[in-house]
Protein backbone atom coordinates (compact mmCIF):
# COMPACT_ATOMS: atom_id res chain seq x y z
CA UNK A 1 0.00 0.00 0.00
CA UNK A 2 2.79 2.39 0.82
CA UNK A 3 4.30 2.29 -2.69
CA UNK A 4 0.97 3.53 -4.05
CA UNK A 5 0.97 6.44 -1.70
CA UNK A 6 1.24 9.70 -3.62
CA UNK A 7 4.12 12.08 -2.99
CA UNK A 8 2.03 14.54 -1.08
CA UNK A 9 1.44 12.14 1.74
CA UNK A 10 5.14 11.45 2.06
CA UNK A 11 6.07 15.11 2.06
CA UNK A 12 4.48 15.53 5.43
CA UNK A 13 7.61 13.88 6.77
CA UNK A 14 5.49 11.95 9.23
CA UNK A 15 5.27 8.20 9.39
CA UNK A 16 2.31 7.02 7.35
CA UNK A 17 -0.70 5.84 9.27
CA UNK A 18 -0.10 2.24 8.24
CA UNK A 19 3.13 2.07 10.27
CA UNK A 20 1.25 2.45 13.49
CA UNK A 21 -1.50 0.06 12.44
CA UNK A 22 -2.66 -2.18 15.21
CA UNK A 23 -0.65 -0.27 17.77
CA UNK A 24 -3.78 0.52 19.71
CA UNK A 25 -3.96 3.35 22.19
CA UNK A 26 -0.41 3.94 23.27
CA UNK A 27 1.92 6.71 24.22
CA UNK A 28 1.57 10.43 24.04
CA UNK A 29 -1.41 12.24 22.53
CA UNK A 30 -1.22 12.98 18.82
CA UNK A 31 -3.37 16.05 18.99
CA UNK A 32 -4.18 17.96 22.11
CA UNK A 33 -6.24 20.94 23.13
CA UNK A 34 -4.79 22.58 26.25
CA UNK A 35 -7.01 25.00 28.18
CA UNK A 36 -8.17 26.56 24.95
CA UNK A 37 -10.58 29.50 24.80
CA UNK A 38 -12.08 31.27 21.84
CA UNK A 39 -14.06 34.50 21.89
CA UNK A 40 -16.02 36.12 19.11
CA UNK A 41 -16.35 39.67 20.35
CA UNK A 42 -18.24 39.41 23.61
CA UNK A 43 -19.47 35.89 22.83
CA UNK A 44 -17.60 33.14 24.63
CA UNK A 45 -17.56 30.36 22.04
CA UNK A 46 -15.26 28.09 24.00
CA UNK A 47 -13.77 28.58 27.48
CA UNK A 48 -10.89 26.66 29.01
CA UNK A 49 -11.46 23.38 27.19
CA UNK A 50 -8.92 20.55 27.22
CA UNK A 51 -8.92 17.16 25.56
CA UNK A 52 -6.63 14.89 23.61
CA UNK A 53 -6.61 12.12 21.07
CA UNK A 54 -4.06 9.30 20.84
CA UNK A 55 -3.19 7.04 17.96
CA UNK A 56 -5.68 4.20 17.79
CA UNK A 57 -8.19 6.04 19.97
CA UNK A 58 -11.51 7.69 19.36
CA UNK A 59 -12.20 10.88 21.26
CA UNK A 60 -15.86 11.82 21.16
CA UNK A 61 -16.93 15.42 21.49
CA UNK A 62 -20.50 15.58 22.68
CA UNK A 63 -22.74 18.53 23.10
CA UNK A 64 -26.07 20.01 22.22
CA UNK A 65 -26.52 22.75 19.64
CA UNK A 66 -24.50 25.82 20.58
CA UNK A 67 -22.22 23.88 22.89
CA UNK A 68 -19.11 24.93 20.97
CA UNK A 69 -18.54 21.79 18.89
CA UNK A 70 -18.04 23.73 15.64
CA UNK A 71 -15.58 26.10 17.29
CA UNK A 72 -13.66 23.12 18.60
CA UNK A 73 -13.43 21.67 15.08
CA UNK A 74 -12.24 25.00 13.76
CA UNK A 75 -9.49 25.16 16.40
CA UNK A 76 -8.28 21.63 15.72
CA UNK A 77 -8.41 21.91 11.94
CA UNK A 78 -6.61 25.24 11.73
CA UNK A 79 -9.54 27.40 10.59
CA UNK A 80 -9.18 29.66 13.66
CA UNK A 81 -6.57 29.91 16.41
CA UNK A 82 -7.34 29.88 20.12
CA UNK A 83 -7.35 33.20 22.00
CA UNK A 84 -6.07 31.43 25.11
CA UNK A 85 -4.48 28.03 25.53
CA UNK A 86 -2.96 25.95 22.77
CA UNK A 87 -3.41 23.28 20.13
CA UNK A 88 -0.59 20.76 20.48
CA UNK A 89 0.53 18.31 17.83
CA UNK A 90 2.86 15.58 19.13
CA UNK A 91 3.25 17.64 22.29
CA UNK A 92 4.49 20.75 20.46
CA UNK A 93 2.43 23.84 19.63
CA UNK A 94 0.83 23.13 16.28
CA UNK A 95 0.29 26.72 15.16
CA UNK A 96 -1.72 25.78 12.06
CA UNK A 97 -1.91 28.86 9.85
CA UNK A 98 -4.79 27.44 7.80
CA UNK A 99 -6.64 24.17 7.09
CA UNK A 100 -4.08 23.29 4.41
CA UNK A 101 -1.27 23.40 7.00
CA UNK A 102 -3.29 21.14 9.29
CA UNK A 103 -3.90 18.74 6.41
CA UNK A 104 -0.22 18.68 5.52
CA UNK A 105 0.54 17.83 9.15
CA UNK A 106 -1.83 14.88 8.87
CA UNK A 107 -4.91 16.38 10.52
CA UNK A 108 -7.79 15.77 8.11
CA UNK A 109 -11.30 17.04 8.65
CA UNK A 110 -14.28 15.34 7.03
CA UNK A 111 -17.00 17.96 6.92
CA UNK A 112 -20.67 17.29 6.59
CA UNK A 113 -20.70 18.56 3.01
CA UNK A 114 -17.81 16.17 2.27
CA UNK A 115 -16.22 18.10 -0.59
CA UNK A 116 -17.31 15.54 -3.15
CA UNK A 117 -18.84 16.12 -6.56
CA UNK A 118 -22.12 14.17 -6.89
CA UNK A 119 -22.01 13.76 -10.67
CA UNK A 120 -18.45 12.42 -10.71
CA UNK A 121 -17.43 8.78 -10.38
CA UNK A 122 -16.24 7.51 -7.01
CA UNK A 123 -12.65 7.02 -8.19
CA UNK A 124 -12.54 10.49 -9.77
CA UNK A 125 -13.70 11.99 -6.49
CA UNK A 126 -11.30 9.89 -4.48
CA UNK A 127 -8.28 11.41 -6.23
CA UNK A 128 -9.71 14.84 -7.02
CA UNK A 129 -6.99 17.44 -6.62
CA UNK A 130 -4.27 14.79 -6.10
CA UNK A 131 -4.57 12.70 -9.24
CA UNK A 132 -1.82 10.15 -9.88
CA UNK A 133 -0.19 10.67 -13.27
CA UNK A 134 1.96 8.71 -15.67
CA UNK A 135 3.80 9.68 -18.84
CA UNK A 136 5.68 12.91 -19.35
CA UNK A 137 5.48 16.29 -21.09
CA UNK A 138 2.28 16.84 -23.06
CA UNK A 139 1.42 13.16 -22.64
CA UNK A 140 1.40 13.32 -18.85
CA UNK A 141 -1.95 11.87 -18.02
CA UNK A 142 -4.26 10.81 -15.24
CA UNK A 143 -3.35 7.23 -14.37
CA UNK A 144 -6.93 6.04 -14.58
CA UNK A 145 -6.19 2.36 -14.10
CA UNK A 146 -4.20 3.02 -10.93
CA UNK A 147 -6.86 5.40 -9.62
CA UNK A 148 -9.60 2.80 -10.12
CA UNK A 149 -7.51 0.04 -8.58
CA UNK A 150 -6.35 2.05 -5.56
CA UNK A 151 -9.86 3.33 -4.91
CA UNK A 152 -11.22 -0.20 -4.93
CA UNK A 153 -8.38 -1.43 -2.69
CA UNK A 154 -8.65 1.40 -0.22
CA UNK A 155 -12.40 1.07 0.08
CA UNK A 156 -12.04 -2.68 0.52
CA UNK A 157 -9.42 -2.12 3.22
CA UNK A 158 -12.00 -0.03 5.05
CA UNK A 159 -14.56 -2.77 4.51
CA UNK A 160 -16.52 -0.66 2.05
CA UNK A 161 -17.83 -2.76 -0.79
CA UNK A 162 -18.64 -0.24 -3.50
CA UNK A 163 -20.42 -2.10 -6.27
CA UNK A 164 -18.78 -0.11 -9.01
CA UNK A 165 -16.16 2.64 -8.54
CA UNK A 166 -17.46 4.13 -11.79
CA UNK A 167 -20.81 5.03 -10.33
CA UNK A 168 -21.38 8.70 -9.55
CA UNK A 169 -20.95 9.66 -5.90
CA UNK A 170 -24.49 11.07 -6.05
CA UNK A 171 -25.87 7.55 -6.31
CA UNK A 172 -24.22 6.47 -3.05
CA UNK A 173 -26.13 6.56 0.19
CA UNK A 174 -25.17 9.11 2.83
CA UNK A 175 -23.34 6.47 4.87
CA UNK A 176 -21.40 5.22 1.88
CA UNK A 177 -20.34 8.74 0.98
CA UNK A 178 -19.12 9.38 4.53
CA UNK A 179 -17.16 6.16 4.28
CA UNK A 180 -15.55 7.14 0.98
CA UNK A 181 -14.57 10.49 2.48
CA UNK A 182 -13.03 8.73 5.48
CA UNK A 183 -11.16 6.26 3.26
CA UNK A 184 -9.85 9.15 1.16
CA UNK A 185 -8.55 11.00 4.22
CA UNK A 186 -6.87 7.84 5.49
CA UNK A 187 -5.23 7.14 2.14
CA UNK A 188 -3.84 10.64 1.81
CA UNK A 189 -1.86 10.24 4.98
CA UNK A 190 -4.16 11.46 7.75
CA UNK A 191 -2.97 10.62 11.27
CA UNK A 192 -5.83 12.41 12.96
CA UNK A 193 -9.30 12.31 11.51
CA UNK A 194 -11.82 14.91 12.61
CA UNK A 195 -15.37 13.84 11.76
CA UNK A 196 -18.01 16.53 11.95
CA UNK A 197 -21.36 14.94 12.84
CA UNK A 198 -20.87 12.04 10.41
CA UNK A 199 -23.94 10.19 11.64
CA UNK A 200 -26.37 13.03 12.23
CA UNK A 201 -28.22 12.91 8.90
CA UNK A 202 -28.31 9.13 8.69
CA UNK A 203 -30.79 6.42 9.54
CA UNK A 204 -30.02 3.85 12.21
CA UNK A 205 -28.44 1.25 9.93
CA UNK A 206 -26.48 3.79 7.92
CA UNK A 207 -25.15 5.32 11.11
CA UNK A 208 -24.10 1.86 12.25
CA UNK A 209 -22.14 1.41 9.04
CA UNK A 210 -20.31 4.68 9.53
CA UNK A 211 -19.51 3.77 13.15
CA UNK A 212 -17.98 0.56 11.87
CA UNK A 213 -15.69 2.57 9.56
CA UNK A 214 -14.71 4.83 12.43
CA UNK A 215 -13.69 1.72 14.37
CA UNK A 216 -11.81 0.51 11.30
CA UNK A 217 -9.87 3.79 11.01
CA UNK A 218 -9.07 3.57 14.72
CA UNK A 219 -7.79 0.01 14.28
CA UNK A 220 -5.52 1.25 11.49
CA UNK A 221 -3.83 3.41 14.11
CA UNK A 222 -5.44 6.78 13.44
CA UNK A 223 -6.56 9.14 16.12
CA UNK A 224 -10.21 9.99 15.54
CA UNK A 225 -12.07 13.02 16.84
CA UNK A 226 -15.75 12.18 16.51
CA UNK A 227 -18.11 15.08 16.93
CA UNK A 228 -21.72 14.19 17.58
CA UNK A 229 -24.75 15.03 19.67
CA UNK A 230 -25.80 11.41 19.96
CA UNK A 231 -24.34 9.56 23.00
CA UNK A 232 -25.66 6.27 21.66
CA UNK A 233 -23.44 6.66 18.63
CA UNK A 234 -20.49 7.93 20.64
CA UNK A 235 -20.33 5.52 23.55
CA UNK A 236 -19.80 2.19 21.76
CA UNK A 237 -16.93 3.46 19.65
CA UNK A 238 -15.37 6.09 21.93
CA UNK A 239 -12.35 5.81 24.22
CA UNK A 240 -12.55 9.31 25.62
CA UNK A 241 -15.47 11.69 25.95
CA UNK A 242 -15.39 15.45 26.05
CA UNK A 243 -18.74 16.90 27.04
CA UNK A 244 -19.42 20.48 26.11
CA UNK A 245 -22.19 22.76 27.25
CA UNK A 246 -22.56 26.38 26.31
CA UNK A 247 -18.88 26.69 25.44
CA UNK A 248 -17.59 25.10 28.63
CA UNK A 249 -16.32 21.63 29.36
CA UNK A 250 -18.45 19.42 31.58
CA UNK A 251 -15.50 17.08 31.79
CA UNK A 252 -13.06 15.06 29.73
CA UNK A 253 -13.54 11.41 30.68
CA UNK A 254 -11.86 8.14 29.81
CA UNK A 255 -14.34 5.40 29.04
CA UNK A 256 -13.61 3.68 32.36
CA UNK A 257 -14.63 6.81 34.23
CA UNK A 258 -18.12 7.18 32.84
CA UNK A 259 -21.13 5.11 31.76
CA UNK A 260 -23.57 5.66 28.91
CA UNK A 261 -26.43 6.75 31.19
CA UNK A 262 -24.09 9.25 32.82
CA UNK A 263 -23.02 10.66 29.44
CA UNK A 264 -26.65 11.01 28.41
CA UNK A 265 -27.54 12.60 31.70
CA UNK A 266 -24.68 15.10 31.60
CA UNK A 267 -25.41 16.03 28.01
CA UNK A 268 -29.06 16.61 28.61
CA UNK A 269 -28.24 18.84 31.52
CA UNK A 270 -28.21 16.45 34.48
CA UNK A 271 -30.79 17.50 37.00
CA UNK A 272 -32.69 19.40 34.32
CA UNK A 273 -33.44 16.09 32.67
CA UNK A 274 -34.54 14.59 35.97
CA UNK A 275 -36.92 17.48 36.48
CA UNK A 276 -38.23 17.10 32.96
CA UNK A 277 -38.74 13.36 33.38
CA UNK A 278 -40.52 14.01 36.63
CA UNK A 279 -42.71 16.65 35.02
CA UNK A 280 -43.59 14.49 32.03
CA UNK A 281 -44.43 11.52 34.21
CA UNK A 282 -47.04 13.50 36.07
CA UNK A 283 -48.52 15.00 32.92
Amino acid sequence: MSEDRPERADQTGKPPAADTAGAGATGAPLLELANASKYYGSVIALKDVSTSVRAGEVTCVLGDNGAGKSTLIKLLSGVVRPDEGEVLLDGRPAGFANPRAALDAGVATVHQDLAMIPLMAVWRNFFLGSEPTKGWGPLRRFDVAAARRITREQLAAMGIDIRDPDQPVGTLSGGERQSVAIARAVYFGARVLILDEPTSALGVKQAGTVLRYIARARDQGLGVVFITHNPHHAYPVGDRFLLLKRGRSLGDFAKSEITLPEVTRLMAGGSELDDLAHELERA
Partner: protein, 354 residues
Amino acid sequence: MTTTAPPADERTERRSDERVSDVGLLRRLLIRPELGAAIGVVVVFAFFAASSEVFRSPAGAANWLYPASTLGIMAIAVALLMIGGEFDLSAGVMTATVGLTVGLLSTELGWNLWAAMLGALVLALALGFVNGFLVVRTGLPSFIITLGMFLMLQGLNLGVTTAVTDTVLVDGIDDVPGYELANALLAGTVDIGGVQFRITILWWLVLTAVATWVLLRTRVGNWIFAVGGDARAARNVGVPAARTKIALFMTTAGAAWLVGTMSALRLTSVQANAGIGQELIFIVAAVIGGCLLTGGYGSAIGASLGALIFGMTSQGIVYLQWDANWFMFFLGAMLLLAVLANRLVRRYAEQSRK
Protein backbone atom coordinates in the same frame (compact mmCIF):
# COMPACT_ATOMS: atom_id res chain seq x y z
CA MET B 1 -12.33 -7.45 -2.20
CA THR B 2 -13.33 -7.56 1.40
CA THR B 3 -11.41 -10.07 3.41
CA THR B 4 -13.88 -10.25 6.26
CA ALA B 5 -17.52 -11.03 5.73
CA PRO B 6 -19.66 -8.12 6.78
CA PRO B 7 -22.07 -8.74 9.65
CA ALA B 8 -25.54 -9.90 8.71
CA ASP B 9 -27.34 -6.59 9.11
CA GLU B 10 -24.85 -4.86 6.85
CA ARG B 11 -25.36 -7.48 4.18
CA THR B 12 -29.10 -7.05 4.34
CA GLU B 13 -28.67 -3.34 3.94
CA ARG B 14 -26.43 -3.86 0.98
CA ARG B 15 -28.90 -6.13 -0.70
CA SER B 16 -31.60 -3.52 -0.34
CA ASP B 17 -29.22 -0.96 -1.89
CA GLU B 18 -28.54 -3.42 -4.65
CA ARG B 19 -32.07 -3.05 -5.95
CA VAL B 20 -31.04 0.33 -7.25
CA SER B 21 -28.35 -1.13 -9.45
CA ASP B 22 -30.12 -4.31 -10.57
CA VAL B 23 -30.78 -2.68 -13.91
CA GLY B 24 -27.29 -1.22 -13.75
CA LEU B 25 -26.09 -2.12 -17.24
CA LEU B 26 -29.06 -0.66 -19.07
CA ARG B 27 -29.01 2.41 -16.89
CA ARG B 28 -25.32 2.88 -17.30
CA LEU B 29 -25.80 2.84 -21.05
CA LEU B 30 -28.69 5.27 -20.77
CA ILE B 31 -26.69 7.78 -18.78
CA ARG B 32 -23.87 7.95 -21.32
CA PRO B 33 -23.99 11.65 -22.23
CA GLU B 34 -23.53 10.89 -25.95
CA LEU B 35 -26.33 8.36 -26.24
CA GLY B 36 -29.12 10.79 -27.15
CA ALA B 37 -27.00 12.54 -29.77
CA ALA B 38 -25.86 9.21 -31.24
CA ILE B 39 -29.46 8.10 -31.69
CA GLY B 40 -30.24 11.50 -33.18
CA VAL B 41 -27.42 11.13 -35.72
CA VAL B 42 -28.67 7.72 -36.82
CA VAL B 43 -32.28 8.86 -37.15
CA VAL B 44 -31.47 12.09 -38.98
CA PHE B 45 -29.03 10.36 -41.32
CA ALA B 46 -31.47 7.56 -42.09
CA PHE B 47 -34.23 10.03 -42.82
CA PHE B 48 -32.29 12.24 -45.24
CA ALA B 49 -30.36 9.37 -46.80
CA ALA B 50 -33.61 7.61 -47.59
CA SER B 51 -35.20 10.74 -49.05
CA SER B 52 -32.33 12.19 -51.04
CA GLU B 53 -29.88 10.49 -53.32
CA VAL B 54 -27.54 13.49 -53.30
CA PHE B 55 -27.45 13.42 -49.51
CA ARG B 56 -26.10 9.88 -49.35
CA SER B 57 -23.55 10.36 -52.16
CA PRO B 58 -19.91 11.00 -51.14
CA ALA B 59 -20.05 14.48 -52.64
CA GLY B 60 -23.21 15.18 -50.65
CA ALA B 61 -21.53 13.93 -47.49
CA ALA B 62 -18.57 16.23 -48.13
CA ASN B 63 -21.11 19.02 -48.36
CA TRP B 64 -22.84 18.42 -45.05
CA LEU B 65 -19.64 17.50 -43.24
CA TYR B 66 -18.20 20.98 -43.80
CA PRO B 67 -20.76 22.96 -41.77
CA ALA B 68 -20.71 20.17 -39.20
CA SER B 69 -16.93 20.50 -38.88
CA THR B 70 -16.71 24.23 -38.17
CA LEU B 71 -19.74 24.12 -35.89
CA GLY B 72 -18.27 21.01 -34.29
CA ILE B 73 -14.92 22.62 -33.45
CA MET B 74 -16.76 25.40 -31.63
CA ALA B 75 -19.22 23.01 -30.00
CA ILE B 76 -16.35 20.96 -28.52
CA ALA B 77 -14.81 24.02 -26.88
CA VAL B 78 -18.20 25.29 -25.71
CA ALA B 79 -18.97 21.82 -24.32
CA LEU B 80 -15.74 21.83 -22.27
CA LEU B 81 -16.66 25.27 -20.97
CA MET B 82 -20.19 24.15 -20.11
CA ILE B 83 -18.91 21.05 -18.33
CA GLY B 84 -16.77 23.53 -16.38
CA GLY B 85 -20.01 25.27 -15.41
CA GLU B 86 -19.85 28.39 -17.57
CA PHE B 87 -21.30 29.87 -20.77
CA ASP B 88 -19.73 32.00 -23.46
CA LEU B 89 -22.23 34.08 -25.41
CA SER B 90 -19.41 35.98 -27.12
CA ALA B 91 -18.08 32.87 -28.89
CA GLY B 92 -20.11 33.35 -32.09
CA VAL B 93 -19.34 36.98 -32.66
CA MET B 94 -15.72 36.35 -31.69
CA THR B 95 -15.27 34.19 -34.82
CA ALA B 96 -16.15 37.31 -36.84
CA THR B 97 -13.84 39.47 -34.72
CA VAL B 98 -11.00 37.07 -35.52
CA GLY B 99 -11.80 36.99 -39.24
CA LEU B 100 -12.04 40.78 -39.42
CA THR B 101 -8.78 41.18 -37.50
CA VAL B 102 -6.99 38.81 -39.85
CA GLY B 103 -8.49 40.66 -42.83
CA LEU B 104 -7.80 44.19 -41.62
CA LEU B 105 -4.26 43.49 -40.42
CA SER B 106 -3.35 41.83 -43.71
CA THR B 107 -5.23 43.86 -46.32
CA GLU B 108 -5.17 47.30 -44.66
CA LEU B 109 -1.87 47.23 -42.73
CA GLY B 110 -0.07 44.96 -45.18
CA TRP B 111 0.92 42.31 -42.67
CA ASN B 112 1.90 38.87 -43.88
CA LEU B 113 -1.10 36.58 -43.44
CA TRP B 114 0.68 34.45 -40.84
CA ALA B 115 1.53 37.55 -38.81
CA ALA B 116 -2.08 38.68 -39.08
CA MET B 117 -3.28 35.27 -37.90
CA LEU B 118 -0.87 35.38 -34.98
CA GLY B 119 -2.11 38.88 -34.09
CA ALA B 120 -5.71 37.68 -34.19
CA LEU B 121 -4.81 34.69 -31.99
CA VAL B 122 -3.26 36.95 -29.37
CA LEU B 123 -6.36 39.15 -29.47
CA ALA B 124 -8.74 36.17 -29.16
CA LEU B 125 -6.84 34.65 -26.24
CA ALA B 126 -6.78 38.04 -24.53
CA LEU B 127 -10.56 38.37 -24.95
CA GLY B 128 -11.02 34.86 -23.59
CA PHE B 129 -8.82 35.72 -20.64
CA VAL B 130 -10.86 38.86 -19.91
CA ASN B 131 -14.08 36.81 -19.99
CA GLY B 132 -12.65 34.21 -17.64
CA PHE B 133 -10.91 36.63 -15.32
CA LEU B 134 -14.05 38.74 -14.86
CA VAL B 135 -16.17 35.65 -14.20
CA VAL B 136 -13.90 34.11 -11.57
CA ARG B 137 -12.99 37.45 -10.00
CA THR B 138 -16.50 38.86 -9.65
CA GLY B 139 -18.42 35.62 -9.22
CA LEU B 140 -21.07 37.05 -11.54
CA PRO B 141 -22.86 34.64 -13.88
CA SER B 142 -20.82 34.11 -17.06
CA PHE B 143 -24.07 34.65 -18.93
CA ILE B 144 -23.98 38.35 -18.05
CA ILE B 145 -20.23 38.89 -18.42
CA THR B 146 -20.07 37.27 -21.85
CA LEU B 147 -23.31 38.95 -22.95
CA GLY B 148 -21.51 42.23 -22.33
CA MET B 149 -18.53 40.98 -24.31
CA PHE B 150 -20.85 39.81 -27.09
CA LEU B 151 -22.49 43.23 -27.48
CA MET B 152 -19.18 45.07 -27.27
CA LEU B 153 -17.59 42.88 -29.93
CA GLN B 154 -20.66 43.18 -32.15
CA GLY B 155 -20.35 46.96 -31.96
CA LEU B 156 -16.59 46.89 -32.49
CA ASN B 157 -16.85 44.58 -35.49
CA LEU B 158 -19.23 46.92 -37.30
CA GLY B 159 -17.72 50.15 -36.02
CA VAL B 160 -14.10 49.42 -36.83
CA THR B 161 -14.88 47.77 -40.16
CA THR B 162 -16.98 50.64 -41.47
CA ALA B 163 -14.51 53.20 -40.13
CA VAL B 164 -11.59 51.57 -41.94
CA THR B 165 -13.16 50.25 -45.15
CA ASP B 166 -16.32 52.36 -45.50
CA THR B 167 -18.17 49.10 -46.09
CA VAL B 168 -19.35 46.27 -43.82
CA LEU B 169 -17.01 43.86 -45.53
CA VAL B 170 -13.31 43.05 -45.45
CA ASP B 171 -12.23 41.23 -48.60
CA GLY B 172 -9.21 40.42 -50.72
CA ILE B 173 -7.69 38.09 -48.16
CA ASP B 174 -6.59 35.75 -50.96
CA ASP B 175 -4.26 38.43 -52.37
CA VAL B 176 -2.16 38.54 -49.18
CA PRO B 177 1.25 36.79 -49.12
CA GLY B 178 1.02 33.52 -47.21
CA TYR B 179 -2.55 32.80 -48.26
CA GLU B 180 -1.82 29.66 -50.27
CA LEU B 181 -0.20 27.71 -47.45
CA ALA B 182 -2.56 28.94 -44.74
CA ASN B 183 -5.57 28.08 -46.87
CA ALA B 184 -4.21 24.65 -47.70
CA LEU B 185 -3.64 23.87 -44.02
CA LEU B 186 -6.79 25.35 -42.53
CA ALA B 187 -9.50 25.63 -45.16
CA GLY B 188 -8.49 23.82 -48.32
CA THR B 189 -9.80 20.59 -49.72
CA VAL B 190 -8.39 17.10 -49.81
CA ASP B 191 -9.18 14.74 -52.66
CA ILE B 192 -10.43 11.39 -51.42
CA GLY B 193 -11.61 9.08 -54.18
CA GLY B 194 -12.44 11.97 -56.50
CA VAL B 195 -14.47 13.83 -53.88
CA GLN B 196 -13.23 17.09 -52.41
CA PHE B 197 -13.41 17.00 -48.62
CA ARG B 198 -12.63 20.14 -46.63
CA ILE B 199 -9.57 19.81 -44.40
CA THR B 200 -11.67 21.38 -41.61
CA ILE B 201 -13.27 17.94 -41.23
CA LEU B 202 -9.88 16.49 -40.30
CA TRP B 203 -9.28 19.29 -37.79
CA TRP B 204 -12.69 18.60 -36.29
CA LEU B 205 -12.04 14.86 -35.87
CA VAL B 206 -8.59 15.42 -34.38
CA LEU B 207 -9.86 18.07 -31.96
CA THR B 208 -12.76 15.83 -30.89
CA ALA B 209 -10.25 13.10 -30.05
CA VAL B 210 -7.92 15.52 -28.24
CA ALA B 211 -10.74 17.08 -26.22
CA THR B 212 -12.10 13.66 -25.26
CA TRP B 213 -8.65 12.53 -24.16
CA VAL B 214 -8.10 15.68 -22.10
CA LEU B 215 -11.51 15.37 -20.51
CA LEU B 216 -11.35 11.70 -19.58
CA ARG B 217 -7.66 10.94 -19.21
CA THR B 218 -5.89 13.97 -17.73
CA ARG B 219 -5.86 15.76 -14.41
CA VAL B 220 -7.18 18.88 -16.09
CA GLY B 221 -10.16 16.88 -17.34
CA ASN B 222 -10.92 15.77 -13.82
CA TRP B 223 -10.71 19.40 -12.69
CA ILE B 224 -13.06 20.54 -15.46
CA PHE B 225 -15.76 18.13 -14.30
CA ALA B 226 -15.12 19.15 -10.69
CA VAL B 227 -15.30 22.94 -11.10
CA GLY B 228 -18.52 22.51 -13.05
CA GLY B 229 -19.98 20.08 -10.52
CA ASP B 230 -19.19 22.07 -7.39
CA ALA B 231 -16.49 24.74 -7.60
CA ARG B 232 -16.33 25.27 -3.83
CA ALA B 233 -15.90 21.58 -3.04
CA ALA B 234 -13.28 21.35 -5.79
CA ARG B 235 -11.29 24.23 -4.29
CA ASN B 236 -11.49 22.56 -0.87
CA VAL B 237 -9.60 19.53 -2.14
CA GLY B 238 -6.96 21.63 -3.89
CA VAL B 239 -8.24 22.00 -7.46
CA PRO B 240 -7.08 25.32 -9.01
CA ALA B 241 -10.64 26.29 -9.89
CA ALA B 242 -9.98 29.84 -11.08
CA ARG B 243 -7.14 28.82 -13.38
CA THR B 244 -9.20 25.95 -14.79
CA LYS B 245 -12.11 28.23 -15.64
CA ILE B 246 -9.96 30.94 -17.19
CA ALA B 247 -8.21 28.30 -19.29
CA LEU B 248 -11.61 27.07 -20.49
CA PHE B 249 -12.65 30.56 -21.61
CA MET B 250 -9.32 30.91 -23.40
CA THR B 251 -9.83 27.52 -25.07
CA THR B 252 -13.20 28.67 -26.36
CA ALA B 253 -11.58 31.85 -27.67
CA GLY B 254 -8.86 29.75 -29.27
CA ALA B 255 -11.50 27.65 -31.03
CA ALA B 256 -13.19 30.87 -32.19
CA TRP B 257 -9.82 31.92 -33.62
CA LEU B 258 -9.46 28.65 -35.52
CA VAL B 259 -12.99 28.67 -36.91
CA GLY B 260 -12.94 32.41 -37.66
CA THR B 261 -9.68 32.02 -39.56
CA MET B 262 -10.93 28.95 -41.45
CA SER B 263 -14.03 30.78 -42.57
CA ALA B 264 -12.11 33.93 -43.55
CA LEU B 265 -9.67 31.86 -45.62
CA ARG B 266 -12.39 29.87 -47.34
CA LEU B 267 -14.58 32.85 -48.21
CA THR B 268 -11.58 35.22 -48.64
CA SER B 269 -13.81 37.89 -47.13
CA VAL B 270 -15.54 38.56 -43.82
CA GLN B 271 -18.88 40.25 -43.18
CA ALA B 272 -18.80 42.57 -40.18
CA ASN B 273 -22.07 41.11 -38.88
CA ALA B 274 -21.02 37.47 -39.21
CA GLY B 275 -21.25 35.04 -36.32
CA ILE B 276 -24.17 36.73 -34.57
CA GLY B 277 -26.57 34.09 -33.25
CA GLN B 278 -24.03 31.31 -33.71
CA GLU B 279 -23.21 31.31 -30.00
CA LEU B 280 -26.62 29.83 -29.24
CA ILE B 281 -26.17 27.13 -31.87
CA PHE B 282 -22.86 26.13 -30.27
CA ILE B 283 -24.63 25.81 -26.93
CA VAL B 284 -27.53 23.88 -28.49
CA ALA B 285 -25.09 21.43 -30.10
CA ALA B 286 -23.34 20.93 -26.77
CA VAL B 287 -26.64 20.40 -24.96
CA ILE B 288 -27.88 17.91 -27.56
CA GLY B 289 -24.55 16.19 -27.01
CA GLY B 290 -25.41 15.67 -23.36
CA CYS B 291 -23.99 18.72 -21.56
CA LEU B 292 -26.00 19.82 -18.56
CA LEU B 293 -26.75 23.54 -18.43
CA THR B 294 -25.79 23.42 -14.77
CA GLY B 295 -22.31 22.07 -15.52
CA GLY B 296 -20.32 19.09 -14.33
CA TYR B 297 -21.55 16.68 -16.97
CA GLY B 298 -21.17 16.24 -20.70
CA SER B 299 -18.92 15.00 -23.46
CA ALA B 300 -16.86 16.31 -26.36
CA ILE B 301 -17.94 13.43 -28.62
CA GLY B 302 -21.56 14.27 -27.81
CA ALA B 303 -21.04 17.90 -28.82
CA SER B 304 -19.50 16.74 -32.10
CA LEU B 305 -22.46 14.47 -32.74
CA GLY B 306 -24.75 17.40 -31.97
CA ALA B 307 -22.86 19.44 -34.57
CA LEU B 308 -23.15 16.56 -37.04
CA ILE B 309 -26.93 16.54 -36.62
CA PHE B 310 -26.96 20.24 -37.48
CA GLY B 311 -24.69 19.83 -40.47
CA MET B 312 -26.82 17.03 -41.88
CA THR B 313 -30.08 18.85 -41.27
CA SER B 314 -29.01 22.23 -42.62
CA GLN B 315 -27.89 20.63 -45.92
CA GLY B 316 -30.54 17.92 -45.97
CA ILE B 317 -33.31 20.48 -45.90
CA VAL B 318 -31.74 22.17 -48.90
CA TYR B 319 -31.52 18.87 -50.80
CA LEU B 320 -35.17 18.14 -50.12
CA GLN B 321 -35.98 21.69 -51.26
CA TRP B 322 -37.88 22.45 -48.10
CA ASP B 323 -38.48 25.90 -46.73
CA ALA B 324 -35.36 26.83 -44.72
CA ASN B 325 -37.57 27.96 -41.85
CA TRP B 326 -38.09 24.34 -40.94
CA PHE B 327 -34.47 24.30 -39.88
CA MET B 328 -35.23 26.63 -36.99
CA PHE B 329 -38.24 24.55 -35.99
CA PHE B 330 -36.03 21.50 -35.99
CA LEU B 331 -33.39 23.29 -33.93
CA GLY B 332 -35.94 24.13 -31.26
CA ALA B 333 -37.44 20.65 -31.17
CA MET B 334 -34.06 18.94 -30.85
CA LEU B 335 -33.06 21.27 -28.05
CA LEU B 336 -36.25 20.60 -26.14
CA LEU B 337 -35.88 16.84 -26.53
CA ALA B 338 -32.27 16.99 -25.40
CA VAL B 339 -33.01 19.04 -22.31
CA LEU B 340 -35.83 16.74 -21.28
CA ALA B 341 -33.54 13.74 -21.68
CA ASN B 342 -30.81 15.44 -19.66
CA ARG B 343 -33.24 16.15 -16.89
CA LEU B 344 -33.97 12.46 -16.53
CA VAL B 345 -30.26 11.72 -16.43
CA ARG B 346 -29.62 14.18 -13.69
CA ARG B 347 -32.51 12.90 -11.64
CA TYR B 348 -31.14 9.41 -11.96
CA ALA B 349 -27.64 10.47 -10.97
CA GLU B 350 -28.83 12.31 -7.89
CA GLN B 351 -31.57 9.85 -7.03
CA SER B 352 -30.18 8.57 -3.76
CA ARG B 353 -28.55 11.72 -2.49
CA LYS B 354 -29.16 12.46 1.19
